[in-house]
C-alpha cells in the first residue's frame, strides 16, 4: 500500500521538476524575439533624431531588427548569393564557397576577390565565425524553403546567437522569386532595381507557365534527373531540387520518397531501364561532365530511350546553377532553357538571346556568342 504513495510522491516530484525546467526554456524562447510589438516598418528612435534601425517581418514570420541603411550583406547559404549579387552587387561582402575559375569568368572584378567565409551548408556548418565577426556584416540572409517540415526560424536564430548579427529568412521557392526581390529591394534600399528584376522574372516565368499549361497530357515528356557519379541517384517531383522540372511540366519518372536535406535517393540501373525516360538531365554539380560522359557511353544506359535519342542534357551551371544546387534565382533562365529543350514546339524562345538578356540585366555581363555556347555546352 505504501508503495503507491511513494509512487505518487515520485510522480509529483517529477512533475514539479519538469515545470521548473520548462519555465526557463519558455522564457528564453520569448527572449530571443525582438521585444518590440510595433508594426512592420516603424523606425525606432535612437539618440540622434535620425532612425537607425527598423523592424521587419521576414518570410518565416520573424520580427527582426535591422539597420535602416545596409552596406554589407553576408549570405549564410549559397542559395541567397545570386539573389543578393544580382540585386545589389556592391553590398555583397563575402562568399560561402570560393568561386571556381569557371565561375569567376562571369563575375565582376570586385566579386572575384571577395573573402570566403564558409556558411551553413546542409548537414554541417563550415562558417568561420571569427571571420564573420571581423567582417561584421550589417545583415545576414538565410534562404531556404519555409515549408511545413522545415524550421528555418530555428536555424536563423542559432545563426543570430553565434554571430550576434541580424539574420533574416528568405523563401527559396521558385514561385516566390519576384516576391523575394521586392522585399529585399525594400530592405536593401534598392526598390527600383528590385522592381526591374522582379517584373522581369514574373514576365518570363508567366510566359513559360502559360504555354506549358496548354500541353496535352499525352505530349508530356518523361524525365529522369541523374545525380551522383554514376547517375543512379535522383530526386522526385515535389522536391525543391526539381522545382524547375515541375514548373515546365516535365514528368519526373522517379516515384520515390523525397529525401530531405541534400536529397539524392539511390536507385538501380534496372529501375531506370524500367522507367525508360525520354529525357535525362544530368546534374552538373553532382555527377558533372564525368557522369554525363559515362551515361552516354555505358552499354546499359544506352538502352534508355533518352540515350538512344541523344536527349541527355547537362544542367547549365555557370556562374550559379540554372537548375539546382543551390536552388536559386538563375532558375528563371533555367526554366526557359528546360522548357525549350523539353517542349521546343511550345516554348518558342530564342534561348541564346534570352541568356544574353538575362546575364546583362541580372549579372551585368555582356556575353559573346562563344560565351553563350560555352554556357549551354551539352545542355542543348
Amino acid at each position: 500500500m505504501s508503495s503507491i504513495f511513494v509512487k505518487r510522491a515520485v510522480f509529483k516530484g517529477l512533475a514539479i521538476l519538469l515545470c521548473l525546467g520548462m519555465t526557463p526554456l519558455l522564457l528564453t524562447g520569448c527572449g530571443s524575439q525582438a521585444t518590440s510589438t510595433t508594426p512592420v516598418t516603424s523606425p525606432t528612435t535612437g539618440n540622434s533624431s535620425q532612425a537607425t534601425t527598423r523592424v521587419i517581418t521576414d518570410m518565416a514570420g520573424r520580427q527582426v531588427t535591422i539597420p535602416t541603411k545596409i552596406n554589407t550583406v553576408y549570405c549564410a547559404v549559397p542559395t541567397a548569393e545570386p539573389m543578393v549579387y544580382s540585386l545589389a552587387p556592391e553590398k555583397l561582402a563575402a562568399w560561402v564557397n570560393a568561386p571556381s575559375d569557371d565561375v569567376k569568368k562571369y563575375l565582376s572584378d570586385r566579386a572575384k576577390n571577395l573573402p570566403v567565409l564558409g556558411g551553413w551548408m546542409g548537414e554541417k556548418s563550415t562558417a568561420n565565425l571569427e571571420e564573420i565577426a571581423k567582417l561584421a556584416p550589417d545583415l545576414i540572409v538565410f534562404m531556404t524553403t519555409t515549408g511545413v517540415n522545415n524550421n528555418p526560424g530555428q536555424i536563423a536564430d542559432s545563426i543570430t546567437n553565434q554571430t550576434k548579427r541580424p539574420v533574416i529568412v528568405m523563401e527559396s521557392r521558385l514561385a516566390d522569386t519576384a516576391k523575394v526581390y521586392r522585399l529585399m529591394g525594400d530592405i536593401l534600399g534598392v526598390p527600383d532595381r528590385a522592381e526591374t528584376l522582379a517584373s522581369y522574372c514574373e514576365k518570363k516565368m508567366k510566359e513559360v507557365s502559360d504555354v506549358v499549361a496548354k500541353i496535352p497530357q499525352d505530349k508530356l515528356v518523361s524525365v529522369y534527373y541523374a545525380e551522383g557519379t554514376s547517375g543512379l541517384a535522383t530526386d522526385p517531383s515535389g522536391s525543391d531540387h526539381t522545382e524547375v522540372l515541375d514548373f515546365v511540366k516535365g514528368k519526373n519518372v522517379a516515384d520515390v520518397q523525397a529525401k530531405g536535406g541534400q536529397g539524392m535517393t539511390n536507385v538501380s540501373m534496372e529501375q531506370v531501364l524500367s522507367w525508360n525516360p525520354d529525357v535525362v538531365l544530368v546534374s552538373s554539380n553532382s555527377g558533372g561532365v564525368k557522369a554525363y560522359n559515362s551515361i552516354l557511353n555505358d552499354t546499359s544506359w544506352g538502352k534508355v530511350n533518352a540515350v538512344k535519342n541523344k536527349k541527355v542534357y547537362l544542367t547549365p551551371t555557370l556562374p550559379f546553377g540554372w537548375y539546382d544546387r543551390p536552388p536559386n534565382i538563375m532558375r528563371v533562365i533555367g526554366s526557359e532553357w528546360l522548357g525549350s529543350e523539353l517542349y521546343p514546339d511550345y516554348v518558342k524562345v530564342d534561348l541564346r538571346q534570352e541568356t544574353k538578356d538575362f546575364f546583362s540585366l541580372f549579372l551585368g555581363q555582356k556575353l559573346t556568342d562563344e560565351q553563350v555556347a560555352e554556357l549551354l555546352k551539352h545542355a542543348v
Binding site: 551548408m121 551522383g228 554514376s230 559515362s294 538502352k303
Partner: protein, 353 residues
Amino acid sequence: MIKHNAVTADARPKVKARKSGLVLVILFLVLIVIFLWSFTVGRFAVPLPELLTVFFRKMFGLPATWSDTTETVLFNIRIPRIIVALIIGAALSASGAAYQGLFRNPMVSPDILGASAGAGFGAAMAILMSAGAITIQLAAFAFGIIAVMLTYLISRMIGKNNNSVLILVLTGMVVSSLFSAFISLAKYTADPNNKLPEIAYWLMGGLTSITSKNVMLMLVPFVIGIVPILLLRYKLNALAFGEEEAQALGVDTKKIRFVYIICATLLTASSVAAGGMIGWVGLVIPHLARMLVGPNLKYMLPASVLLGGAYLLLIDDISRTFFTVEIPLSILTAIVGAPFFIYLLVKGRNSWT
C-alpha cells in the same frame, strides 16, 4: 574403464554421428535454387516464360527473340550483380570462419584486423578525389591490405617472438579505430552537397553500380584467397586447442597463421572494395554453419562458403527488388543478422563454451 556415477551415465543423451556430408549437398542445392531464382527478380520485369526462352535460346546459340533492353538487363546488370553478391557472401563467410578458428573465438568477424576500416578509408579518399568507380574499388582494396599489413607489422614489433594472437587482435582494434577516424575526417572535409552523401552511401554497402568490370577485379583476389583457405582447412582445427597443442600435433602454426591472415585479408579487402562495408555476414554465417554441420572445419568451411553466398545473394535480391530505392546492404544484413544472431546464441548448443 572410466567409471562415473551410475545415475548420470544413463541420463546423458545418446549422440548419433552427424551426416555432415549430406548437409553440404543440401546446402549446395539450396544455393543453386536461390541462384536461379535471382534471375527472375528485379525492378525491370522479365516474365518467367521470357526468361526461360532467353536461356534456352542462348544455350543453343539461337537468335534472340527478346528486346535489346531485356538482354542488357539480364546479362549486363543482373548477372554481374548476382555473381558479385555470391562471391562477397562466400568471401566474408570464409574469412569469418577462418578468423574464428585462428583466434579461437567465435565472436570474431572479418574486420578484426582492420581490413574493412582500411578499405573504407581508401574508398573515401578516392571519392573525395572524384575518381571513377574502378579506381575507388582499387583504392579501397589497396588500403584494406595496407591496414592489415600495418596491424601485422606493429604486432610483430610489440610481440617480438611471442606467438600470442592477443597482441594481433588488440593491434587490429587500434588500427581499425585509426582508419575509422580517418574516414570521419574525410567525411568532415567532404562537400556536403555531393561527396558527403556519396561517401556515406558507399560505406553503407551496396551493389548498385556493379558491372562486369567489377566482377573481373573481384575474381582474382577471391580465388587466390579462398583456395588456400579451403585446402588447409583441416589443419586449422588443431589451433582450436591452443598454439602449443597444435604444434605438438605437428602443425606449423606460424606458417598456417601467416597464410590464413593473407588469404582472409584478400577476401575481406576485395569484398569491401566491391560492395562497401557489409557486416553481420562474416560473424553470423559461420555460427549457422557450425550449428548445421559441427565445428570440424572440414565440413564447416565449405558450409560457410555455400551458406554465405546464398545468404547475401538472397539479401541483395530483396534489396534490389522489393523497393524502388536501393536499401544499402549493411542495413538489411544488420536487420536480419542481429536478431538472428541473438536467436543463435539462445538456441546454439555450446557454440562457444
